[in-house]
Symmetry: C2
Subunit: 249 residues, 2 copies
DNA sequence: CGCTGGTTTGATCTTTCTCAAGCCGTGTGG
DNA sequence: CCACACGGCTTGAGAAAGATCAAACCAGCG
């Protein structure tokens, strides 16, 4: 059966690459993703994909572009909660909750498609479940940044996280990646002002740890950066680092 | 069949109360909880219930006492990620991850028991799933606090959240509740120093919005507080509060 | 050419941290 | 019964990180 091919159909590659990296997919799952991607449609920047407390139309798969979970306080203060990158899942909460827990806005023009149903696809289900665990890990990372990192650490740590997530989706190469965030958005993600973000970024540029121009970022020495910042979710530390050591800061 | 009754067995009531409030339980589920509670055992304060990157022995149900998810950086900075209260579930991640994503320490002496299996209990499964969604909502709330709230707002907002969660488990009454956290722990949860927490708490006491003595807290005018702080996860706001209003802070 | 959105810079102010000491209640061993 | 050690709370003075306000700059674009 020949399916009509919509022009401008988004590539399923980032989603395939990411989900497959999280948990190896079988052919059936891959076909499901490719099929879903053929139903992709574009959404312009600055549109709400999901609105807090409103029903979720259907869980989505982001195929291309960037989005973010955000909350805006009554007095206008804005906090970006997390970023949604190509290959990420949106609005899929185990099996409860027909209601969105937060607003999701597009930061760039994006391509989305309905998320393939996982019922009866244990392999796909597993991938979704791991994706969900990753989301949680990102929230935790965000808490650590906001709670205990300095401005400079916050900025670099977030950039590294985004870089690593983009790599998973195969949309970053070792010598740089497209970075569509403005300094103001960074500020509202990191609990800072854009002025301060700017000054810290400049400092990092001067130190040669960060090249950021024209929506492109390169990290000249990623391993060194990872060491400088405490990016050690995966590190096992000795007893001395017990949560109850006194004199900690 | 008469089961031997261990002395000092913890009450299943908070867990029952909380889970039933999240999603009404049937008798079968209640029996499962009560049975599990009969297997409860005590753990002293300042012990690790779960260690980051170590295998999870088995998912747990906290029956009594307080615990917290925490991360400690190499240089000793400590961040409490979230608090675990009576009736809360621990180490249950959909069906993936045999590995703990963060360390959980007891803050007081606690009583825990193995979490009843939910396989084949759709009703229990649903309650767990909602509990899990609540956990996520708490992480998001924590991000908002750390990112965009002032010190005073952070403190009051966290106290209100804990009060509301304790109410769900039925272990808080309108005129106050037991509050075992030290100001230092509050500080490490809120990204502040204990000195500053102390000063802000005193200010709130002077203003009469908070009574906190001897491990007991009362909130004389909760509705007013909720209004003063932006605690409006549940509020639907008009278009003007779009994530992209300019001039926001 | 003149907007527009984003970045950069400077000067000043505020919040929060740091360090250091004192206080207070509780429990413990002499 | 007292001394004192301990954990947690309180207070003060000075320092630093980050916010605020305001203006200039700069590139892309209609």
């Amino acid at each position: 059966m020949v399916r009509a091919q919509p022009r401008n159909r988004a590539s399923p590659t980032p989603a395939l690459s990411r989900l497959d990296a999280l948990s190896p997919l079988d052919d059936r799952s891959k076909v499901a993703i490719v099929d879903a991607a053929s139903l992709s449609y574009p959404v312009m920047a600055r549109r709400e994909l999901q609105t807090e407390n409103k029903a979720i139309r259907s869980p989505l798969l982001l195929l291309d572009g960037w989005a973010a979970r955000v909350r805006v306080l009554q007095d206008g203060r804005r906090q970006f909660i997390s970023f949604v990158l190509p290959g990420d899942i949106l609005g899929h909460y185990g099996f409860s909750s027909p209601v969105a827990t937060s607003t999701v806005v597009t930061l760039t023009d994006v391509q989305v498609c309905p998320l393939p149903e996982s019922a009866g696809f244990p392999i796909l289900e597993r991938a979704y479940s791991i994706s969900c665990a990753m989301d949680e890990a990102c929230l935790v990372a965000q808490i650590i940044r906001l709670g205990r990192f300095t401005a400079r650490e916050r900025i670099l740590d977030l950039i590294i996280e985004l870089y690593e997530r983009l790599s998973l989706a195969g949309v970053a190469d070792s010598d740089g990646f497209a970075f569509p965030l403005t300094q103001e958005i960074m500020a509202d993600a990191l609990g800072l002002t854009s002025v301060h973000v700017n000054r810290m970024v400049q400092q990092s540029r001067r130190l040669g740890e960060l090249c950021w121009t024209g929506g492109q970022i390169t990290l000249p020495d990623l391993p060194a950066l990872r060491r400088a910042i405490d990016r050690s979710t995966t590190t096992i530390r000795p007893w001395s680092a017990s949560p109850f050591v006194p004199g900690a800061r």
